[in-house]
C-alpha cells in the first residue's frame, strides 16, 4: 500500500504542474494599452503598447519603455495575429488596462470590436474604455507623458476623472451589459490629444452600440453624473454668480459637492411619460474672494442663485441627452420595470427624445472652509 501511495504521489507531481497550459512570463510580451481605429475601406487598425525594459548599463536593471506595434486587418483577431508575428515572444493582452477607440470606429459599432474580449476566457474585463477625438493611435504614439508610460498615464487619467465625478466608472464588462439593454444607454470618457497633452474632454454619448457623436463637456458630464446618482469621490463646480465686480475673479464661486441626494420620479399614463429629477446638493464653498459668507442672507442668496444656475444647466444636459437619443439616465429601464404597459406601447427609439424630463436642483451651502 505504501509503495502504491508513493507511485501515486510521484505521478501526481508530474500531473499537477500543469505543463500543458503554462505560460511563462519570460516569453510573454505584455500589452498594457490598445487603440483601435477605423482604417480605409472598413478595415480595423490596431495599435498596441507593449511594455519592455530598456537596458541601461551592463549590470542589468532597466527602465520601462513602450514598444508600439501596429497592424491592419478585417477583424480585431486578425490584427492581433499579425501583431503576434511582429513581436518576439507571445503577444498577450491579459494585462491590458486600457482600450481606446477612435471616434470613427466607435460611431460604427462598439460591441463588435470588443467581441474578442468577451469571448476569450483570458481577457481582462475590468479594463477601462475611452473614446478618442480623432485617431486613437495618436495617443499611444506619444509613448510617454513626462516620465510615465502613455498606457498607464491614460488609465490613471480616466481613474482620476472617475474620482472627480467627471466620467462614469465603466469597464469592458459593465458597458457590455448596457449595450444589450434596450432601456438604458451609457456615456464613455472622451479623450483629446492637443499638442503634446492628453486630457479628458467630457463624455461621449452612446446610443445602443454606437457612439452618437454628441458629447457633454467636463462640467456638464459632472452634472449628468450627479443627476444619474453616480457620485465619485469629489465633484467641484465653478459658477459665475455676480456681475460687475472687479477684478473679474470676484464674480465666481467654486463649490465642492459634499453629498447629493437624487430622486427620480417617472410617471406614465398611456403613452405619456413625465419624468422629474429632483437633486439635492449639499455644498461647501471652496473659493469665493468676496468673503461675505458670514451673513445668513448672503448664503441664502447664493443658494438661490446657484440652484437656478444648476437647474438651467441640468435642463441643457437633459436636452442634449434627448437630442442624441441617449437614455443614459435609464428612464427606459424604469418604465420596463414599473410601467410595463406604457413601455410596450412606446417605441422607445422614437419616443425617448419627445418625453418630458424636468430636472430640478436644490442647493444647500453647508460650509465655507476654514474662513467665512
Amino acid at each position: 500500500m505504501k509503495k502504491l501511495m508513493l507511485i501515486f504521489l510521484t505521478i501526481s507531481i508530474v500531473l499537477l504542474t500543469g505543463c500543458w497550459d503554462q505560460k511563462l512570463l519570460k516569453d510573454a510580451r505584455l500589452v498594457y494599452g490598445s487603440a483601435f481605429d477605423l482604417a480605409e475601406d472598413g478595415r480595423i487598425h490596431t495599435t498596441a503598447a507593449i511594455r519592455t525594459l530598456q537596458r541601461i548599463g551592463p549590470s542589468g536593471g532597466g527602465k520601462p519603455v513602450n514598444e508600439l506595434v501596429t497592424a491592419e486587418g478585417d477583424t480585431v483577431r486578425e490584427t492581433r495575429m499579425k501583431m503576434d508575428e511582429k513581436v518576439s515572444g507571445t503577444f498577450s493582452a491579459e494585462k491590458n488596462r486600457i482600450f481606446l477607440l477612435g471616434e470613427d470606429l466607435a460611431k460604427q459599432d462598439i460591441y463588435s470590436v470588443f467581441d474578442i474580449l468577451y469571448r476569450t476566457p483570458e481577457s481582462n474585463l475590468s479594463a477601462s474604455v475611452g473614446i478618442v477625438n480623432g485617431k486613437a493611435s495618436d495617443i499611444l504614439k506619444m509613448s510617454k507623458k513626462g516620465e510615465t508610460l502613455i498606457s498607464e498615464y491614460t488609465y490613471e487619467l480616466i481613474e482620476s476623472a472617475v474620482q472627480h465625478t467627471t466620467v462614469p466608472h465603466e469597464n469592458i464588462q459593465s458597458i457590455c451589459t448596457l449595450m444589450f439593454d434596450p432601456g438604458r444607454d451609457f456615456v464613455l470618457p472622451l479623450l483629446d490629444k492637443r499638442d503634446n497633452e492628453v486630457a479628458v474632454d467630457g463624455v461621449g454619448l452612446i446610443h445602443g452600440r454606437k457612439y452618437t457623436g454628441h458629447k457633454l463637456s467636463n462640467e456638464q458630464a459632472g452634472l449628468f453624473l450627479l443627476l444619474d446618482d453616480n457620485y465619485g469621490k469629489t465633484a467641484r463646480f465653478v459658477k459665475k454668480v455676480n456681475k460687475g465686480q472687479k477684478p473679474d475673479i470676484n464674480n465666481y464661486v467654486t463649490v465642492n459637492v459634499m453629498n447629493s441626494k437624487r430622486k427620480l420620479d417617472v410617471q406614465a399614463k398611456g403613452r405619456n411619460v413625465k419624468v422629474s429629477i429632483g437633486l439635492q446638493l449639499n455644498l461647501t464653498v471652496n473659493e469665493y474672494p468676496l468673503d461675505t459668507l458670514a451673513k445668513k442672507t448672503t448664503i441664502k442668496d447664493l443658494d438661490k442663485k446657484l440652484s437656478e444656475k444648476f437647474t438651467n444647466e441640468a435642463k441643457e444636459v437633459v436636452s442634449k441627452l434627448q437630442e442624441a437619443n441617449c437614455d443614459a439616465l435609464g428612464i427606459g429601464r424604469n418604465l420596463i420595470a414599473f410601467h410595463n404597459e406604457t413601455w410596450k406601447q412606446l417605441d422607445w427609439e422614437k419616443d425617448y427624445p419627445t418625453i418630458t424630463i424636468i430636472p430640478k436642483i436644490h442647493v444647500n451651502i453647508l460650509g465655507s472652509g476654514i474662513i467665512q
Partner: protein, 366 residues
C-alpha cells in the same frame, strides 16, 4: 436477515453530506439555464423547485421510516422481492454511475474552456478518478468528515459572489411575474435538476443518528439552505446582467466575476473556479460511493477490488466519450429526465407496494 446497523454519522454531517452533494456542477450554469425559460423570474422558479424537492424529501422519508435500518438497495429487495428488487437496484446503480460520468464530463468541459484549454481531458479524468477512488474506499464517516471540512468553501463562494453587488441594477428583475406561471414552472424544472443530490437521503437514512423526526428536520434544513443559496445566486446574476446579455453567457456566475479587480487580486473567476471544483468533487464522490454500495449489495463479502475495477471502467468510458458538446448535451438531458424516476418514481412505487402488502421492517421476507 436484517442486521442491526450502527448509526455512524451525526446530524450535522448528514446535513453537509446532502448539501455538498446537491451543490455541484450545475451551479455555474444554473442562472443561465433558468433564465432561458423563466426570464427575469428565475429566482421564483428556484423557490418553487425548493418546494418540489421538499415534497420528494417527504416521500423518501415516509418510505425510509418504514424501514429505519435499511438503505435503498436493501429496501428494493425487501419490498419487491429478490429478483425484481435486484433489477431495481441494478437500475439505481447504473443511474448513479451515469450521473458520476456526466458530472465528470461537464466539469472537465468547464475547466477546459475557462482555465486549461491545452490540457487534455484525460488528465482531469485521471486526477478525479484517483481522488475519488482514494476516498471511496474509506467509510461513510470519513467521507462525511471531509464534506464538513470543505464546507468552509461555501462561505467563501458566497463572499466572492457578494463582490458583484457593486455593479448591479435591481430594476432588471421588475416587473415580477412577467414570464407567466407556466414558464416559471418550467424554469423550476431546470433548478430542480441542479438540486439533485437530496435523493442521497434514500441511502443515508439508516446511518443518521437520532429519531425519524430529527432526520426529517436535517434533510429539510439542507433543502432550505440549498434553495436559499440558489435563489441568492440566481438573483445576483439577474440583477447584474441585462436580460438580453444573459442569453449569451452560459456560465454567468464566473463571467460576472471576471470584471472585478482590487488592489492585489484580479480574475476572481479563477478563484471561484478552484473553490467550485471542490464542490464538484464532493458530488462526484457521493455518486461513485453510491455506485460502489450498490455493487456491494449484490455481494456478501467486502473487498476493494470491485472499487478499483469500477474506477478503471469509469476512466475508460470517460476517455472514449466523444468531445462533441451536442452529444454531451443529449446524454445530459437523457440522464436528468431519467432522474425523476429515481428520486420520485421508484420511491413512490416502493412506498405504495410496501403499504399495500403491509410490509415493514422486521416482518417476514418475501
Amino acid at each position: 436477515m436484517t442486521k442491526k446497523r450502527n448509526k455512524t454519522i451525526t446530524k450535522l454531517q448528514a446535513f453537509f453530506l446532502i448539501v455538498q452533494t446537491q451543490i455541484g456542477v450545475g451551479v455555474l450554469s444554473l442562472p443561465f439555464d433558468v433564465h432561458k425559460v423563466a426570464q427575469k423570474d428565475g429566482w421564483i422558479s428556484a423557490f418553487i423547485a425548493g418546494i418540489g424537492v421538499q415534497l420528494s424529501i417527504f416521500l423518501i422519508w415516509f418510505l425510509n421510516k418504514r424501514f429505519p435500518s435499511l438503505h435503498i438497495f436493501e429496501i428494493n429487495q425487501k419490498v419487491l422481492g429478490k429478483w425484481v428488487g435486484s433489477v431495481t437496484s441494478l437500475f439505481y446503480l447504473v443511474y448513479y454511475f451515469g450521473i458520476f460520468l456526466l458530472i465528470n464530463l461537464l466539469a472537465t468541459r468547464i475547466i477546459k474552456t475557462w482555465a486549461f484549454p491545452h490540457t487534455p481531458s484525460w488528465v482531469f479524468y485521471l486526477i478525479f478518478t484517483f481522488l475519488i477512488t482514494y476516498i471511496c474506499i474509506e467509510t461513510l464517516r470519513v467521507i462525511a468528515r471531509f464534506y464538513v471540512f470543505v464546507s468552509l468553501f461555501i462561505v467563501l463562494l458566497i463572499a466572492i459572489s457578494l463582490t458583484a453587488y457593486s455593479l448591479v441594477d435591481f430594476r432588471y428583475i421588475f416587473p415580477i411575474g412577467e414570464a407567466g406561471i407556466s414558464n416559471i414552472l418550467k424554469g423550476s424544472k431546470q433548478v430542480l435538476l441542479s438540486m439533485l443530490g437530496f435523493e442521497f437521503l434514500l441511502f443515508l437514512y439508516p446511518f443518521i443518528e437520532g429519531d425519524e423526526k430529527s432526520i426529517l428536520k436535517t434533510a429539510t434544513l439542507a433543502n432550505v439552505f440549498v434553495t436559499v443559496l440558489y435563489v441568492f445566486l440566481i438573483f445576483t446574476t439577474l440583477i447584474f446582467f441585462t436580460p438580453t446579455e444573459l442569453n449569451i453567457v452560459p456560465e454567468p456566475l464566473l463571467y460576472m466575476l471576471k470584471s472585478f479587480h482590487f488592489r492585489v487580486l484580479e480574475r476572481y473567476d479563477l478563484l471561484f473556479l478552484s473553490i467550485w471544483i471542490v464542490s464538484v468533487l464532493t458530488s462526484l464522490i457521493t455518486y461513485f460511493y453510491l455506485t460502489v454500495k450498490g455493487m456491494e449489495s449484490f455481494r456478501k463479502k467486502r473487498s476493494n477490488i470491485p472499487i478499483y475495477m469500477l474506477s478503471i471502467l469509469g476512466y475508460i468510458i470517460l476517455t472514449f466519450f466523444p468531445e462533441d458538446p451536442f452529444k454531451l448535451q443529449r446524454f445530459s438531458s437523457f440522464l436528468t429526465n431519467l432522474s425523476y424516476l429515481f428520486f420520485c418514481g421508484f420511491p413512490l412505487l416502493l412506498l405504495i407496494v410496501s403499504l399495500l402488502s403491509k410490509r415493514k421492517e422486521g416482518e417476514g421476507q418475501a
